[in-house]
């Protein structure tokens, strides 16, 4: 029976043909119907008017008071302006909406004069009452950044171009705080009438405005025609959300993206090998550290904490976890910021000394501990392996526990971590923020959740906040950094840079240590490619 069939079935390969045809038809229809996105038509012969950036992370919101995702914060900065803005090195402030400001001699009254030509992207002027409304709104946001402005007593607008802020006590970081993204200026009337819907199609006074907003796939920007500053040379920016590391790299390699955020460490060489592409590293305010939780008995001893610092070879961490593209860590404050104490140098690698210190502390044979890492954090996993092998040589047996991000943070914050990998990045250029979180155990974050407490550090943080003389502040912050360095409530491993894959055809892309690139988008050009 089978045989009978075999002799008769001849010409039925048509089926496969149909399938192939259908596939071709679908593909064919597609290419005619849904044209591939053009990368913008050149405004001049050489330059292209559209910049395409591929980010790894979706946009959380365009509402500056509620932003917490760095990528979204950096996006926001292109849309809104603030009274002042950080400069390109992140060490000083530039005027933005405020053209000038006066500080009363007692340091309690700040008077800002607003520029008269500032307009929102819908053409309405930016007034002092918009500024007052925006600052008050962000300050009142529950879970937001109001705690930075606790010293502020009143915020008023005596006329359309003047804003006056009075304080109950001197507060040195005030200008830096006001330059922070959370205190971006929004049009009061529109936000009041539209509520949270406003932030789907926000209107700001920054260099760009949103033309299309899909928070987890693409955000399109166009130049704000009413922008008062330098008109950007590019006309449009497309921000694509591409979470997969490999896909982002492929987009850059095939020139479908001009800039990609955070190319994975293992592909850096591959990108650099392409003559048209570069991996650019920008110094950041990121500090990578390992918290030593004092709920765990050995870490109550300063000798043990010191021993760990000597037992770790920061060079191997920089080499193995960051492919050499990081700087060994010393002070707990970011190395690219005001008041950083550069006289502090990283603990040298000295396992013999580490063993001595451990013996002195009563742990001649070491102890067992666990280290929490975030799963999917490639650099963090590599760092954990280095830590494990190096601590093993001084008798400390480390077990690595990997958790999903929020689970890891939850354990670390609540004193269940023994050891945990964490990092810090600044939101303002003033050291008050990092000192409050990292060195003041009453500052709300239990000294980066190490539960270490030092009354001298606490009072210095408060004093430095109220001190207006920058020389005296420098001394105070040096002292705080020295205390933290000596007592090591956490091991500062390294300062790692921001990493971007950039096409050679993009000229002038720069990222400030705070992570902002809005200033560079005002001047960069995109060549044909």
């Amino acid at each position: 029976m089978n045989r009978a069939i075999t002799t008769q079935r001849r010409s039925r390969i048509v089926g496969a043909g149909i399938a192939a045809l259908a596939v071709a038809v679908v593909a064919g229809c597609g290419s005619s119907g849904g044209a591939a996105p053009s990368l913008g038509t050149g405004s001049s012969a050489q330059n292209v008017s559209t910049l395409v950036i591929a980010n790894a992370v979706k946009v959380d919101t365009l509402d500056p008071e509620a932003n917490s995702v760095n990528e979204s914060i950096w996006l926001d900065q292109n849309l809104y302006s603030r009274l002042l803005q950080p400069n390109s090195t992140g060490t000083g402030l530039l005027p933005d909406l405020a053209s000038s400001w006066k500080i009363a001699s007692d340091g309690l009254t700040y008077t800002f004069s607003l520029r008269a030509d500032a307009k929102f992207s819908n053409g309405t002027p930016v007034t002092a009452s918009d500024v007052v409304y925006s600052i008050k709104r962000s300050r009142a946001f529950s879970g937001g950044w109001g705690f930075l402005l606790t010293a502020v007593k009143t915020i008023t607008a005596p006329d359309a171009h003047t804003v006056v802020i009075t304080l109950s006590e001197p507060h040195a970081p005030l200008l830096a705080d006001l330059a922070m993204y959370a205190y971006s200026v929004v049009p009061a009337k529109l936000v009041q009438s539209q509520g949270s819907k406003f932030f789907q199609h926000p209107v700001g006074s920054g260099p760009f405005m949103v033309t299309s907003y899909s928070p987890d796939s693409e955000v399109d920007l166009a130049v704000n025609p009413y922008f008062y500053g330098t008109k950007p040379k590019i006309k449009k920016v497309r921000v694509l959300i591409v979470p997969n590391d490999n896909t982002r790299v492929l987009m850059l390699e095939s020139k479908k993206a001009d800039i990609i955020e955070n190319p994975p460490g293992n592909l850096i060489q591959q990108i650099d090998a392409n003559p048209d592409l570069n991996v650019k590293l920008f110094p950041s305010t990121r500090v990578d550290f390992v918290q030593l939780d004092e709920h765990f008995k050995p870490f109550k001893s300063q000798l043990v904490r010191e021993a760990l610092n000597y037992a770790i070879n920061r060079k191997s961490i920089v080499q193995l976890a960051y492919q050499g593209h990081a700087t060994a860590g010393a002070s707990f404050m970011p190395y690219k910021m005001q008041y950083f104490d550069d006289s502090i140098s990283p603990y040298p690698y000295n396992p013999t000394k580490a063993k001595q210190l451990l013996a002195q502390a009563g742990y001649p044979h070491g102890f067992n501990a666990f280290l929490i890492t975030v799963s999917g954090d490639v650099a963090g996993q590599a760092e954990a392996i280095v830590l494990k092998s190096e601590l093993a040589s001084v008798g400390i047996n480390l077990s690595i526990q990997s958790y999903e991000l929020l689970t890891a943070y939850n354990k670390e914050d609540n004193g269940h971590s023994e050891m945990g990998e964490r990092y810090w990045t600044n939101d303002i250029i003033d050291p008050d923020e990092v000192a409050t979180f990292g060195a003041d155990c009453q500052g709300g974050a239990n000294a980066f959740n190490s539960y270490w407490c030092n009354s001298q550090a606490n009072s210095l943080v408060a004093k430095a906040r109220a001190e207006l003389n920058s020389g005296t502040r420098q001394q105070m912050y040096n002292q705080i950094q020295q205390i933290v360095y000596q007592q090591s409530p956490f091991i500062v491993t390294d300062y790692s840079p921001y990493r971007y894959g950039v096409g050679d055809w993009v000229h002038g892309f720069q990222v400030t240590p705070l992570g902002n690139y809005d200033l560079s988008l005002e001047t960069l050009t995109v060549g044909s490619h």
Binding site: Q8, I13, G34, S142, L240, M251, S254, L406, D413
Partner: protein, 316 residues
């Protein structure tokens, strides 16, 4: 029992299953350490700020009260409010449905287009060239994880040949098909393996059935016998496999959406779990659960429509 006599009882099952899903997702989700306040605050987490956020979101109430509120809203068609998107969870989910639905349907169609001819030919000419080649090819494609196969397809068709886009969803019906071709192919290649193998096996079995001999002896042309008797009976066996695996295919979209940067439900589910955006996770899980139950039900209905005996068996 009529053909579709099982329908009412199956619909009751659906309600019970959906209720079970709400219980499981609601409580399991709250068992994971890490809360929305932590997700919102990130490295700037302080206890005071977290308490403020918990109060605002109603997460300070007892968990039973929270479940009560959730179920009450659900009965009124309200899935709750997304912390992350600052919009109702229903709106968020609806805005992410299209890419996933397109992807699932497109890959199901592609899988059928690929596997029906290949499986059928491999069956009627078992051990022939098509059979041998397809065996090797589909075993390989089945063994390749979707995220890897996807990258390889991108490398070939987008980076080197520039035939298809690298990421995104496109616009308009044909635009969507164009953008989704590679992701759909990625899923379809893995999915086809099961279909090809089961269609091949079913075809071989059907060819040996006596009604095929009878038809041939009646003098009906061989082609017609293959088409009317063999193919129809073989495909019937594959419908069940297709239905069951369609559910598997939905879960496959999660990884593929990530590789191709598609703003679909899979991406939404994963990111919402990381954000502890409870209402969205609950909503998407519920939707997936309902989809899978409905697909299984539809599979039975289709089988019953194709073969009355099946409906009676299921009904009994």
């Amino acid at each position: 029992m009529t053909r579709f006599g099982m329908l009412p009882r199956r619909l009751v099952h659906l309600v019970i299953i959906v209720f079970g899903i709400t219980v499981v997702t609601f409580f399991l989700l709250r068992l994971i350490p890490g809360d929305p306040a932590l997700a919102i605050l990130g490295s700037n987490y302080t206890h005071t700020r977290a308490v403020a956020i918990d109060n605002f979101l109603g997460l300070n109430k007892p968990i039973w009260t929270q479940y009560g509120v959730y179920m009450d809203r659900l009965f009124h068609g309200n899935m709750g409010f997304s912390f992350f998107y600052d919009e109702s969870a229903t709106t968020v989910i609806v805005s992410h449905i299209a890419p996933t639905l397109y992807l699932v349907c497109f890959s199901a169609v592609l899988a059928a287009l690929i596997s029906f001819p290949v499986g059928f030919i491999a069956g009627i000419r078992s051990s022939g060239v098509v059979d041998q080649i397809s065996r090797v090819f589909f075993t390989l494609s089945f063994a390749m994880p979707g995220f890897w196969l996807g990258i390889i397809l991108l490398l070939i068709f987008s980076v080197h040949i520039h035939a298809f886009p690298l990421s995104g969803f496109g616009s308009g019906f044909f635009g969507h098909l164009y953008y989704l071709f590679l992701p759909a192919l990625t899923i379809a290649l893995g999915f086809s393996t099961v279909l090809v193998r089961s269609l091949r096996a079913a075809t071989i079995t059907t060819l040996q059935a006596e009604f095929v001999d009878t038809a041939l002896m009646k003098g009906i042309k061989y082609r017609q016998v293959l088409w009317r008797h063999v193919f129809r009976n073989s495909v019937l066996a594959v419908v069940a496999v297709f239905g069951v695996n369609l559910a598997y295919l939905i879960s496959g979209t999660v990884l593929v959406e990530n590789v191709f940067s598609l703003p679909g439900l899979g991406t939404l589910l994963v990111s919402s779990v990381s954000d502890r955006d409870y209402p969205v996770v609950q909503g998407v899980t519920l939707l997936f659960a309902v989809l899978i139950v409905v697909i299984n039900l539809l599979t039975d209905v289709v089988q019953a429509a194709l073969d009355p005996r099946v409906g009676q068996e299921i009904g009994e």
